[in-house]
């Protein structure tokens, strides 16, 4: 039986605590809903982006005409309507103007109607691609016009056909998947394929089949089916999810980051709810004790308080949901331009149900344990305000285990994958355990301190109040700060690794195959500063006297020493390189030949300074000694070399020279024409369009990431604030006593400030340690990107945290400092 009046009274009697609890729960839910809602929409948007990048769900590639088995499988699927397909033939050809005066190596893409299934081919005329690309007409890249001096409507010899240039392509959705191209793009309709007379035995053609899947859920099954039919090693079946590309890795990392934020938010929300709950229950202890003295059974108030708390939790959840919705509406208005266009800021129905259920269950689970522990309590121990030794029986551990399992389940739900989920749970558990151990350690250390000043002593003693929550506050604060710091550090690192590797001055024009004899002339013709990279091909014969067995090396996962390496020579470090071992690139005190090695390759065979490597360069063996080990400070589009030799060692070896520069788009055609005319052997590769696509997507993602980071940081800070203020009642009493005994406001202020300083600084420093370690681990082992500690930003984080905690502490104690002690005294007495 439930006693409704009792429940209502319980809520209305301690309105303040109830309100804090409801707000805590609400805030947690707002954050959870906000982050999850966003994560869902952005996940969807990302997948859409990934799909656009490939123009299809399933992509099949081969360098030969498709095998009969695969063709049959494709036909079968097309017949059932499970997929829609479009074939593509990609190859180079030398196209000529109608008057045969000029020719150009072009990258042809012959496409069937339907291409692209996702994304759009943007034309200069803004017309629909499918309507422009019909038999007899072609769509060309702007360079085709500029380099051949043609205009729209002119005709071009392509193989055996004469085709009319109908439009200019500005953007090709699946461009980044074929990053480099030796010639500008020409789109041709499949209807003209026969007339071209270019695809034969003895032609080099990339056969591509794009598929759009009718039901996205069948994607993997269909892909597997096709893979089974495909000839292994020749016909490659990939989906937009599995296709490897630089962006794909970024997408993966980004999605992982999102779920990381989700988990951290869950953690923060849990901490928020728990501290609000603790404050509420502490307030209720007296009531419970009194009820027991008048004969209430343990199960009576367990039952009733669970209802009270669930009612409160439910209202918190509902407020949270409303808040989350409002937040999204407001953010949608504020950030309309800022967010990617296809991210919708609407919470879905399942999301609401999910959050609602989550809120209630979390509150119920959290409240059951403390209530269960209270039921076995002797009332007198509460009256006496004694330290309550918590009775921990089997049930206690069972419930604790259930709580743990529940959160593990939540994590799996959030991550939706077993292994990362497991890592998360282990990681978070470890985080809390390590935090607890560190907190304990610091507290013990502090307890031993003998301080000269009264203020300092009082502040320190405040941390060790009996029945004080210092330990749990410290753990909660450290854990949540560690989560926030980690999010921030990871964001910085993702940004540095991916976004910043596409700076506005990233090179967009690559010149390959410059001969040493052309170097000087080329430099003059180029007319701008550029780093020239001589390239010498070579293999490794032996490392540290041990022969490299190429066959065995090949078995190695990742990079191996059995392959051909591109060696270079120079006597200086590049901008983005630093030496990690050794004093300088080369040792002037060594008479031997030397080499500088990149750290990533040195790791393969544990090479160090002074070790010897034998190279074979064009049949000539060359033994060199490692003089330094380098690393790259950031990932970027700039070329790098594993092995750098002193100039005099390799200058005479067979080599070509390579350079990459940034050229403004309008100046490209002229430069390209000049160079190819003057140095016909030099290939010029223009990656402007590709880089533009990359940069556009990455810029959008970086905004989203930044926004997310900010959002979760703000929410986290609010949760921390609410949990700090939830514990303020314990401190008020002390402030009043100090005042009665004749302490001035300044004294009380100082004691509190110092106490908060201890708390804030300790937890911030611990959190920084934890988050640096955690972020480093995640960057290296999950993201596979170099890690930067962002020292100054980290210090700033600590400083900001300490200031914030100080400020909050001060604000919550202002009323006591200004007011007369008596009113507070009465509150205490009438407990």
């Amino acid at each position: 039986m439930l006693h409704v009046h009792f429940i209502l009274r319980q809520i209305s009697r301690s309105r303040k605590q109830a309100a804090i609890f409801v707000l805590g729960a609400a805030l947690a839910i707002v954050t959870l809903v906000g982050v999850n809602g966003f994560a869902t929409s952005i996940h969807r948007a990302l997948l859409k982006d990934a799909r656009t990048l490939h123009g299809a769900d399933i992509i099949i590639r081969s360098n030969h005409e498709f095998s009969r088995a695969l063709s049959n499988a494709l036909a079968r699927l097309a017949q059932t309507g499970a997929v829609a397909g479009a074939r593509i033939w990609e190859f180079y050809s030398v196209v000529r103007t109608e008057d045969d005066q000029a020719s150009l190596l072009a990258h042809l893409k012959v496409v069937e109607p339907g291409y692209p299934f996702f994304g759009k081919v943007k034309l200069r005329s803004r017309r629909d691609f499918a309507r422009v690309l019909i038999g007899g007409q072609i769509v060309v890249a702007p360079e085709v016009l500029s380099r051949l001096r043609l205009k729209l409507g002119d005709r071009l010899h392509v193989g055996g056909a004469r085709l009319t240039i109908a439009d200019v392509v500005l953007q090709e959705p699946d461009r980044p998947t074929n990053f480099f191209s030796l010639g500008p793009r020409i789109f041709i309709a499949a209807a003209d394929l026969q007339r071209l007379d270019l695809v034969h035995k003895g032609s080099r053609v990339r056969y591509i089949h794009l598929l759009k899947v009718d039901n996205p859920r069948h994607l993997n099954r269909l892909a597997h089916e096709l893979e089974a039919a495909a000839e292994p090693g020749v016909e490659r079946v990939t989906t937009f999810k599995t296709a490897e590309s630089r962006l794909k890795r970024f997408f993966d990392n980004f999605l992982f980051f999102l779920s990381l934020i989700g988990i951290f938010t869950l953690l923060l929300a849990g901490i928020g709810i728990q501290s609000a709950l603790n404050a509420f229950l502490r307030e209720k202890e007296q009531t419970i004790a009194i009820m027991k003295t008048v004969g209430a059974t343990g199960s009576f108030f367990t039952r009733h308080y669970v209802v009270v708390l669930v009612a409160l939790g439910l209202s918190g959840t509902i407020i949270g949901l409303l808040g989350g919705y409002l937040l999204q509406v407001i953010m949608g208005l504020l950030l309309g331009d800022f967010l990617p266009e296809n991210v919708k800021l609407i919470i879905t129905g399942p999301e609401i149900l999910r959050s609602l259920g989550l809120g209630v269950v979390v509150v119920a689970m959290f409240s059951f344990l403390p209530l269960y522990r209270l039921r076995d309590l002797k009332p007198i121990s509460i009256f006496r305000k004694e330290l309550v030794p918590p009775p921990k029986g089997l049930v206690y551990y069972l419930i604790a285990a259930a709580l743990f399992l529940f959160f593990t389940g939540l994590v799996f739900w959030q991550v939706r994958a077993i292994r990362p989920g497991l890592y998360f749970v282990l990681g978070v558990t470890l985080l809390i355990l390590v935090t607890a151990v560190l907190a304990e350690f610091v507290l013990r250390l502090l307890k031993r301190l003998r301080l000269p000043s009264l203020v300092l002593r009082q502040a320190l003693k405040g941390l060790f109040r009996p029945r004080n929550a210092t330990r749990s506050i410290l753990i909660a604060l450290t854990a949540s700060l560690a989560a926030i710091f980690s999010i921030y550090l990871l964001e910085c690192n993702l940004d540095a690794a991916f976004i910043k590797s596409y700076p506005p001055d990233a090179p967009n024009l690559f010149f390959l195959d410059i001969q040493p004899s052309q170097h000087l002339e080329f430099t003059q013709a180029l007319g701008m500063d550029a780093e020239y990279y001589p390239i010498v091909q070579g293999k490794i014969l032996a490392v540290k006297g041990e022969r490299i067995d190429a066959r065995r090396e090949r078995q190695r996962r990742g990079d191996n020493l059995g392959r051909t390496f591109y060696l270079t020579y120079r006597n200086h470090l590049l901008q983005d390189e630093v030496i990690v071992q050794g004093q300088q690139l080369f040792r002037p005190d060594w008479d031997e030949r030397q080499v500088s090695v990149m750290d990533t390759v040195a790791e393969i065979k544990d090479m160090g300074i002074g070790d010897r490597i034998t190279f074979k360069i064009q049949g000539i063996a060359l033994e060199v000694r490692i003089a330094s080990i380098r690393t790259r400070t950031r990932e970027s589009l700039r070329p790098f070399f594993y092995f750098v030799f002193p100039e005099d060692t390799l200058r005479e070896a067979p080599q070509t020279i390579f350079t990459a520069v940034r050229v403004a788009t309008p100046a490209i055609p002229a430069l390209q024409t000049t160079i190819t005319k003057k140095f016909p052997n030099i290939s010029v590769i223009d990656v402007t369009a590709t880089i533009a696509t990359f940069a556009r997507i990455l810029k959008r993602l970086s905004r989203v990431i930044r926004f997310f980071t900010l959002f979760s940081i703000v929410a986290g800070v609010l949760i921390i604030l609410s949990s700090i203020s939830a514990t303020r009642w314990a401190r008020i009493r002390e402030a009043v006593y100090y005042k009665i005994l004749g302490a001035k406001a300044a004294f009380v202020k100082k004691v509190f400030a110092l106490e908060n300083l201890f708390l804030g600084a300790t937890s911030a420093v611990l959190a920084l340690l934890l988050s640096q370690t955690g972020s480093w681990l995640i960057c290296r082992s999950v993201f596979h990107i170099p890690y930067r500690p962002f020292v100054y930003a980290s210090l700033l984080l600590v400083l900001a945290t300490v200031l914030l905690v100080l400020l909050v502490g001060l604000i919550t104690s202002l009323a006591i400092l200004r007011g007369k002690p008596d009113s507070f005294l009465r509150e205490q007495t009438q407990e």
Binding site: R246, A550, T564, E635, P680
Partner: protein, 228 residues
């Protein structure tokens, strides 16, 4: 391990060398040891077709050729001087370096990368001519491996390209293999998945194809020795 930038750089460089170098080449001891066998040294100059992209070093054509020569009783060493991705301009640039190997006979198979990059056949012709001239000047017996371009480049281009080799051979009076990849090009069984690079089996076919021309060169070389 899977560093994106590393992959990127590899891509750049791979592109530079249109045919990326194989992953499992070993330096056979015969390459380290440059002392000629009794009869003389053959240097195979060329690109990935010579170097042996994605096949074991002993499966590439120079090694296969040396074995076949030995079986037939010729004690010639065949040195693999192939550089993946190299164009005819590259060969011309390094010819002095290659001459350090002191070849008696050179098999020159270059130009494929020129064609794949759409480089004007005129330039390729000039380069090959200059290379042959320099070799001849050193009294080296030269075999020029003829090459044909993939048909997707268009008849005009492939026609002009195919004419380069007979023209140079005729002009300089050197031995010509009409088409180095005869019977191999375009056959999926003899080529790797990329459709361009021969398999070990493909190289055996190639060696069988070119063997008569090599024997012709050996005779020319031995005649030269006798003259001296």
């Amino acid at each position: 391990m899977n560093k994106p930038a590393a992959r990127f750089a590899v891509t750049v460089l791979v592109l530079m060398a249109l045919f990326p170098a194989g992953c499992q080449q070993d330096a056979g001891p015969e390459i380290e040891d440059h002392r000629p066998l009794d009869d003389g040294t053959i240097v195979a100059i060329g690109d990935s077709l010579t170097e042996g992209y994605e096949v074991a070093p002993e499966e590439a054509y120079p090694a296969e050729l040396e074995r076949k020569l030995r079986r037939q009783g010729y004690s010639y060493r065949v040195i693999n001087a192939g550089i993946s991705g190299e164009t005819s301009s590259g060969v011309l640039s390094r010819i002095q370096w290659t001459l350090k190997l002191k070849p008696d006979i050179v098999i020159l198979v270059t130009g494929a990368n020129d064609g794949l990059r759409g480089i004007d056949p005129q330039l390729t012709a000039t380069n090959i001519d200059a290379i042959v001239r320099q070799l001849k000047a050193r009294n080296i017996t030269v075999i020029v491996g003829g090459m044909q371009m993939v048909r997707n480049l268009g008849k005009d281009y492939t026609g002009a390209f195919a004419r380069i080799y007979p023209a140079v051979a005729q002009k300089r009076g050197v031995i010509l293999i009409p088409f180095f990849l005869a019977g191999v090009a375009g056959n999926p069984q003899l080529n790797q998945a990329d459709g361009i690079h021969p398999t070990a089996e493909g190289y055996r076919v190639i060696v069988a194809n070119i063997f008569p021309y090599v024997v012709e060169a050996l005779k020319e070389h031995q005649a030269k020795i006798k003259k001296n």
